[in-house]
Subunit: 560 residues, 2 copies
């Protein structure tokens, strides 16, 4: 029997960088040609990167992107390769005159095009802001195979899989009715904890439902706050996973589809029928490392700086930074004050040494004293309060920005999701930074990640004491986090139910054993601190609901 | 002939504050009853305030809002009044199960409902994120009058008025075909320079096009960055403006519609056939004063603090703050350094004195010296650069936040749109604040506003020298803005064409006489500073395109 060889180009495009993305495509085309691939498939919007956001409102950008589609088509002009890739096109309609589409190119020409039907507009997605949906869904007939091409969200509305549907239309069902041989879905599907497994199950279900194989090609890479995990997959018509690309890394693979539509491994990659079960902390580490590396490199940073307090959050962030950028490219700054314990000072140095990053100490006492002195007459008769605590955090923030300014380091902020939720942080202080690395990780998960990192690094890159001592901001004598916050195990569960599961007060009371007053206090505190989150740097998203671009709350408001 | 008396309740709701908004409705109902009004009309989403944003993702909020609709209906239970108001309703459909609707209530019951058809999803609008559009458009028959009710955007897609249409559907045309007697549009239409005039012309055009009178009821007030100007209007069937409510203030008015559908003044308010032409600076002053007052009051602040540099931006912001909150509630802090000229120190005090606000001086030298000393070994061998300039700005930012923390003042940031566009500002320094008051005002417009304010206040609340001296950040010796930036007249024109008119590089070259290299440099600088704007406080929007929630750009990207 004959076979068609399909290649998957799981690429990491840079948003708006048409030239770089084209060169990336060129490299994958060369690999595909070497592997005698017939059809090479790229992710959603590969030409421009996803999400392009308001770049799409720039007429010159749109024009250049559309021109670039023709350039990608030319990659097939003197060979026998066909390419399927995602990009935008202008259409002549009333209203939004762009589509998010898949282009099939061969012999240097665009031979078929399918627009996206379901435009996600919720959480981090805002495609209705830019695009018109497809006005039809038809298979692309290519060398005798009917390819049923859909784009990302198009395959996420299966009424036989989900309890709740987001759209009336089910594009896969329509493609099925039009006589599809093989489903192809090109995606830019963001990573979230637990999502890869859901995705696998959902796609397997679609295949068995329609008795049709599926090729799923996902973007990889970090783009600002959102991380795309790749993990492209091929399923046979029974929903059996035949081939799977690794997560969190660019990857090329190929396989063969026989005329009877069975999938066989081919080319370079062997099939992995059952993906290895990955530990949660391992997945988180890989995701955050990729997100950090990409934010830095796509913004043009080679080095990073962060404050090392001796606490667990900054130690974990330092490890992730070393993983992403190389230990020689990371600077940890210890900035002790009168309230810093000897233990913390030691732990800061210990973690830097264990990790092998650069380390410096800049005590903040002289600045702190100068502020207190200069403000003493204005604040005469006033008690010490959070003002003085915040001043210390802001001195540290200014020192770190001075290092960033002087040496061109990217400043990493180190707050976790529990803190960010409760506003247990100082705006223009410890929140300073170009990127918040662990701001979508609850404190309890930071502990788990710390232990996993120490195991993986095979030494205490996070000092034992940073893990075992009671967490403290050390901004006043004998302070601990639990002076202000409920125990983290409790707090994190309330936060998760509220933020990720969209449960309201009564529902959280119903499903937990926590006191209603505690739950109410936590929820009110979340609301009251919205203004701080408004001014935070982008924070890497690893859950289905992060603070950031996917959660847009009014600041001046009266609902609690 | 008989007449129907209509009341307009141009209210300023607080987002999410169901109780407060209901009490506001209650007051307007009492006024309406005293004025013997038959039908009282409130703006779009009056029950919950516009825009509610992701509060709509909270199930308990939605439930409470829907319950509140019934409470509003009860306001008509023991009188002869009918009310038309905007709120949300849950509907039983696949997908987004909320509508943004107008409710007609009478005798304590909801008697009719019309959902919004056109859901704006661009700039500051994101209604596709939450709502399903109306599935029908029909007149509401009320006491023999066919009311053609539409909601905000529904009347902004007239193919006979606009060159470009955003939607296929024209709701007014459909209502016309269903036999409308009187159009009613309830709106939450944001203010922008020049927009009130466009709105008047567009509505007048619709009336004459369909030979139908129109009652237009707009929300007033500031909600975070967006300002709603009110300016509710009534047009007769020839498009003649008969009644107009004032801008930027809550207002109740009423008028009569006779059986032949002519409009006559009635009740309390007399008609204004030709609205006074308002000076641009007067409109800007009123808009920003309202926006500042509302942000403060809706967030629970009574007092504000800002840095007074002696420059024009902070002086103008101080005047706006005094107008919004009262001079006794504003604190101006002068924070001179080694680079502050005597003139600037004097001007800071002069403006505070002329205005009558509180004034304090906190020199920053001791902190600046402490930082330089503490960083000297880390920075050994490195030249002075922007690092040291930023440190001064960050010391000032920390001092201002200390005043904010200690006394509960709202910190106002004072950067203008030209600076914000070019990143000519220090993140965590002069950008610190809960609200950026003039961040949508180009420097050239700041000058015009300053002159107008001095004229209106009848004294130099902005010192003459602050207006006439060359603008400077005073962060190094003999610095002026024009060391780093093109002349403001030039810069502002390029910025306006790019930001507000969406012109690209070639178009700007085409319509101006500026050198292409200059234009290119300006555009690249805008792009390069996106990361700073990501972390700015909300900035009051007064143009059709502000930096902020209406302009969402990727940070790590390669397009220039």
């Amino acid at each position: 029997m004959n076979a068609t060889r399909i290649g998957i180009a799981q690429i990491n495009p840079r948003i708006g960088d048409l030239e770089r993305n084209f060169l990336l495509a060129y490299e994958y085309v060369r690999q595909a040609l070497r592997a005698k691939v017939d059809l090479l498939i790229f992710p959603e919007l590969s030409v421009i990167g996803y999400p392009p956001k308001d770049l799409l409102n720039n007429p010159d950008f749109v024009e250049a992107a559309v021109k670039c589609n023709a350039k990608w088509a030319e990659l097939t002009s003197d060979n026998n390769l066909a390419i399927l890739f995602g990009s935008i096109a202008s259409i002549d309609v009333v209203g939004k005159n762009l589509i998010n589409a898949a282009f099939l190119v061969e012999n240097g020409r665009i031979i078929s095009r399918q627009a996206k039907s379901l435009l996600p507009t919720y959480d981090v997605f805002d495609e209705d802001r830019y695009f018109s949906p497809a006005d039809h869904r038809l298979c692309m007939l290519w060398r005798g195979i009917r390819l049923g091409v859909s784009i990302c969200e198009d395959c996420w509305n299966d009424r036989t899989f989900w309890k709740k549907r987001e759209y009336t239309l089910d594009p896969l069902e329509e493609l099925h009715r039009s006589g599809v041989d093989v489903f192809v879905n090109i995606s830019a599907s963001p990573y979230a904890l637990g999502k890869p497994e859901v995705r696998r199950k959902m796609l397997a279900h679609a295949c068995s439902r329609f008795n049709t194989p599926m090729i799923y090609v996902n973007q990889v890479g970090g783009n600002d706050d959102v991380i795309y995990d790749g993990g492209s997959m091929v399923f046979d018509r029974f929903g059996q996973l035949n081939v799977e690309a690794p997560q969190f890394t660019e990857h090329f693979l190929c396989f063969d589809i026989k005329d009877d539509l069975t999938i066989v491994s081919g080319g370079i990659e062997s099939p992995r029928c059952v993906p290895d079960k990955v530990e949660e902390s391992a997945e988180i580490s890989a995701a955050l490392t990729l997100g950090l590396r990409d934010y830095a490199s796509k913004c043009g940073f080679k080095t990073a700086v962060l404050g090392l307090s001796g606490g667990i959050d900054s130690a974990v962030t330092a490890v992730l930074a070393a993983q992403a950028l190389g230990k020689k490219n990371v600077w940890g700054i210890s900035m002790p004050s009168r309230y810093s314990s000897t233990g913390s000072r030691d732990d800061a140095r210990l973690s830097a040494d264990a990790l092998g990053i650069n380390f410096m100490t800049v005590p903040i006492e002289p600045m702190f004293n100068a502020y207190l002195e200069q403000l003493s007459s204005a604040f005469a008769g006033k008690k010490e309060d959070v003002t003085e605590e915040n001043l210390q955090a802001r001195i540290r923030g200014a020192i770190l920005m001075a290092f960033s300014n002087k040496f061109g380091h990217l400043l990493l902020s180190t707050g976790n999701k529990s803190e960010v939720a409760m506003g247990y942080c100082t705006l223009y202080g410890d929140t300073n930074g170009g990127l918040a690395v662990i701001s979508d990780l609850y404190k309890t998960k930071v502990y788990a990640l710390a232990k996993w990192l120490n195991k993986t690094w095979d030494r205490a890159v996070i000092p034992e004491a940073s893990i075992t001592k009671p967490p403290s901001a050390e901004l006043r004598p004998n302070q601990t986090d639990q002076d202000s916050l409920p125990p983290y195990a409790m707090l994190d569960e309330i936060l998760r139910l509220y933020i990720e599961e969209s449960k309201d007060f009564r529902e959280i009371v119903g499903v937990t054993t926590f006191k209603p007053e505690l739950i109410e206090k936590v929820l009110k505190t979340i609301f009251r601190n919205e203004y701080k989150r408004k001014q935070l740097p982008p924070g890497l998203r690893i859950t289905k609901k992060a603070f950031g671009s996917g959660r847009v709350m009014p600041l001046a408001q009266g609902w609690q």
